[in-house]
């Protein structure tokens, strides 16, 4: 099985090993035909209507606004319905620096997202703290407080890079197992392994 994204070839993506590994696991766990097809149908639906929660704290958010405007037009991919309430969104685009004061709000927003939920870290700040990594009050990467699915480096990333990252998320969703959620759970297990104190606190 190959994970297909329209108008972008498999070889053109980087980090293919990661997706290949997920596919392998999926095949090995051997879902039956009915559930397997249903999975594919649902994943096809989710991956083509990913609604982001707007969560722009700084500069990167302005680039995200450009994505929404006519030139880059993210509606082409089904990402355009940016929601302002976490209850209606599928994933958080973390665009910008996360500081100590924001951390609790950030975590609460994540908890309020409905399953299945994903997190994309956009820009150096969200990935690692970026230019402010050494500051006294900057969280050095959102993955310190949330499990992250896709990282988009850049300061700010170009709109094309945003799309690339979003397509990577689509690919990841296409191989998830909606029923049983094996692949989806994996990243959370990794996260809990690194943050044992958070087990049980995250819903």
């Amino acid at each position: 099985m190959e994970v297909k994204i329209k108008s972008m070839k498999h070889e053109d993506f980087k980090d293919n090993e990661y997706i290949d590994k997920l596919v392998e696991e999926l095949n090995a766990s051997g879902a039956n035909v009915a559930v397997g097809n249903l999975n594919q149908l649902i994943n096809w639906g989710i991956s083509n209507s990913l609604w982001p929660l707007t969560f722009g704290t700084s500069c990167c958010a302005i680039e995200f606004m450009s994505l929404g405007a006519a030139r880059y037009d993210m509606a082409r991919f089904g990402f355009e319905v940016a929601r302002n309430s976490p209850r209606q969104a599928d994933y958080i685009m973390v665009q910008g620096t996360i500081v100590h004061r924001m951390a609790p709000a950030m975590r609460r927003l994540y908890d309020q997202l409905a399953e299945p939920k994903y997190v994309i870290a956009c820009g150096g700040c969200a990935v690692s703290g970026g230019p402010f990594k050494n500051s006294y009050c900057v969280v050095p990467g959102v993955d310190k407080i949330l499990p992250v699915d896709v990282y988009i480096p850049g300061c700010p990333p170009r709109p094309e890079a945003f799309f690339y990252g979003l397509m990577q998320l689509q690919r990841k969703i296409k191989v998830q197992k909606f029923f049983g959620g094996i692949n989806r759970k994996e990243k959370r297990e990794e996260f809990f392994a690194a943050h044992p104190e958070d087990r049980g606190k995250l819903s």
Partner: protein
């Protein structure tokens, strides 16, 4: 200046003058400070009506504040006042927030960073950091151990608690607890994650029905600690912070920091670089005002206008991208000039932009400005009188919408602005609509400036040849201001002669803007909170730094 000295000595004989700096500096003892400040403000001969900057300082043996005052009536002369807290262990200084209202927030920032408490200040809460933060980060002896301030995932408690410090007749200082909102007030919370706060600002509005009684602005949700970070870096390394502060004024902010360092070094910037810098500044201003237009429209529900604004903005970004290599965070100005020469298409692209802009502005006006909804929502909303604008030091388009002439490019020209022909845009409406209109008209003025320069870019170097490899500033302090897209942006640098700055302070225009939110919103509807904010047009990372 000498007559000022005489007047000041007459008012306050204890005042000491320090010569040799870029402007007159006065040191006053703390006990005399409040009376002296009042005289500076009220005495018609002095008339220092604007408090431009408040810079908290830790001089190791003492803590204190540098105040930068200026006078609109006397040619914008700058006076520096240095006040030291008598006791470094338990520092107290009298507030001047009753004289210059802008100090209400500025002093809270100083308290947050240095722990200097201001006597009689009505609201001594922390400004940017959590209220359970341990220590004062900009003190030189701050303990940055992450164990002291781990990433806390619990909410802050007792958010409504505040306090003030009052002095009794015997001079004893007492802490008086207070409340931001009374128990029976109905408080609506906006943000920090809200689409119309233009970033991660949090506003708490107490309402009576739908009418706003009071707005409490809670910032710090994007406080990145740039000033402290700068102290550990060399001068070329701190430049990039300015692009990320008010990212819609990236060029101007960086220009300001470069000017300040160049001033301290005594560097002469080649003419070509100066022209390029000014052109970039004006392009940035256009792109910023276009974004402001789009966002104001979008906040009122006019999504189409947003697309129009962004269409032209993309054109400006293309110009940036070709020359600077990035659409945002351009990192273009460097100490002594600019980093790269212009792209061959630059002149052609700029001319094209100037050609289309008048047409497009007309389009915006038909599409949005004339719209009855826009008119109703903006006109006579968020009134800010000229006196208040001066008292709260509201510069930039917002201040000029209150008919206060404060354009740094005019009143204290820098670079080549004094040679250029352009008008300072003033509106007398004092409301949201006036602020909005100033922006739209400033786009035309910026186009005028670009038109004058685009065919007159001189040949030559783009960077001064004599920039030292290792940049060390002489001992001293400097303050430089430029007109950013949202008002006067200032940089304060204090150097102890090493290659790292001893203290850097960024005086951002947006920080003052949030200071008037309470004043502008009182008595209006809760829905106006959004339009008033949009018309003031603050950029949150510029506030929090």
């Amino acid at each position: 200046m000498s007559d000022i000295k005489e007047i000041i000595s007459g008012i306050c004989p204890e005042a000491e003058f320090v010569e040799g700096g870029e402007s007159l500096q006065v040191n006053v003892p703390e006990s005399k400070w409040h009376d002296f400040a009042k005289a500076l403000h009220d005495d018609r001969r002095l008339d220092f009506d604007v408090l431009t900057a408040v810079v908290g300082m830790d001089w190791k043996e003492s803590l204190g504040v540098m105040y930068y005052l200026t006078s609109t009536s006397r040619g914008w002369d700058i006076l520096e006042v240095k006040v030291e807290a008598p006791d470094a262990k338990n520092p107290f200084i009298h507030t001047v927030s009753d004289i210059w209202k802008v100090a209400l927030f500025q002093e809270r920032e100083v308290y947050d960073f240095f722990g200097i408490k201001f006597i009689n200040h009505p609201d001594m809460r922390r400004m940017f950091l959590r209220n359970d933060w341990v220590g004062y980060p900009l003190r030189k002896d701050y303990d940055a151990d992450p164990a002291k301030n781990p990433i806390r995932l619990e909410d802050e408690i007792n958010e409504d608690d505040t306090c003030s410090y009052v002095e009794d007749e015997k001079g004893k200082i007492k802490r008086v607890p207070g409340k931001v909102f009374e128990d029976d007030e109905y408080v609506v919370n906006f943000g920090p994650q809200h689409p119309s706060t233009h970033g991660v600002m949090r506003m708490r509005a107490s309402v009576d029905g739908e009418t706003i009684k009071k707005v409490d602005m809670v910032s710090g949700y994007i406080h990145r600690g740039m000033e402290k970070l700068s102290e550990g870096l060399t001068y070329p390394q701190i430049l990039h912070f300015t692009d990320r502060m008010d990212y819609m004024s990236a060029h101007q902010n960086r220009h300001c920091l470069c000017l300040c360092i160049e001033k301290a070094l005594g560097l002469e910037v080649p003419r070509r670089a100066q022209v390029i810098r000014v052109m970039m500044d004006e392009l940035m201003r256009i792109s910023s005002h276009l974004l402001a237009f789009g966002c104001t429209a979008m906040d009122l529900g006019a999504t189409t206008a947003f697309f129009y604004g962004f269409r032209e903005r993309e054109q400006v970004l293309d110009i940036f991208e070709k020359t600077c290599g990035a659409r945002m965070s351009m990192n273009y100005n460097v100490i002594g000039g600019v980093i790269a020469d212009l792209h061959p298409d630059f002149q052609k692209d700029v001319k094209e932009l100037i050609r289309i802009m008048p047409e497009r502005l007309k389009e915006y006006h038909t599409l949005f400005t004339g719209n009855i909804i826009a008119q109703n929502r903006l006109k006579n909303v968020g009134i800010l009188s000229k006196e208040d604008a001066i008292n709260y030091a509201i510069t930039g388009p917002s201040g000029r919408g209150s008919n206060w002439s404060n354009d740094t490019r005019k009143v204290r020209p820098y670079s080549i602005y004094s040679e250029l022909k352009f008008d300072e845009v003033l509106e007398s409406g004092c409301d949201s609509y006036a602020r909005y209109m100033v922006r739209m008209r400033e786009i035309e003025e910026s186009c005028k400036i670009l038109a004058q320069l685009v065919d007159n870019i001189p040949e030559g170097d783009i960077r001064a040849m004599n920039v030292p490899k290792v940049i060390k500033l002489p001992v001293g302090h400097w303050y430089q201001q430029v007109e950013a897209s949202r008002g006067a942006f200032g940089v304060y640098i204090e150097s102890d002669g090493t290659k790292n700055p001893y203290r850097v302070h960024f005086q951002s225009p947006c920080f003052n803007l949030i200071g008037v939110m309470d004043l502008c919103c009182q008595g209006y509807m809760i829905a106006d909170l959004i339009t008033i904010g949009a018309a003031l047009d603050f950029v949150i990372p510029d506030i929090d730094r």
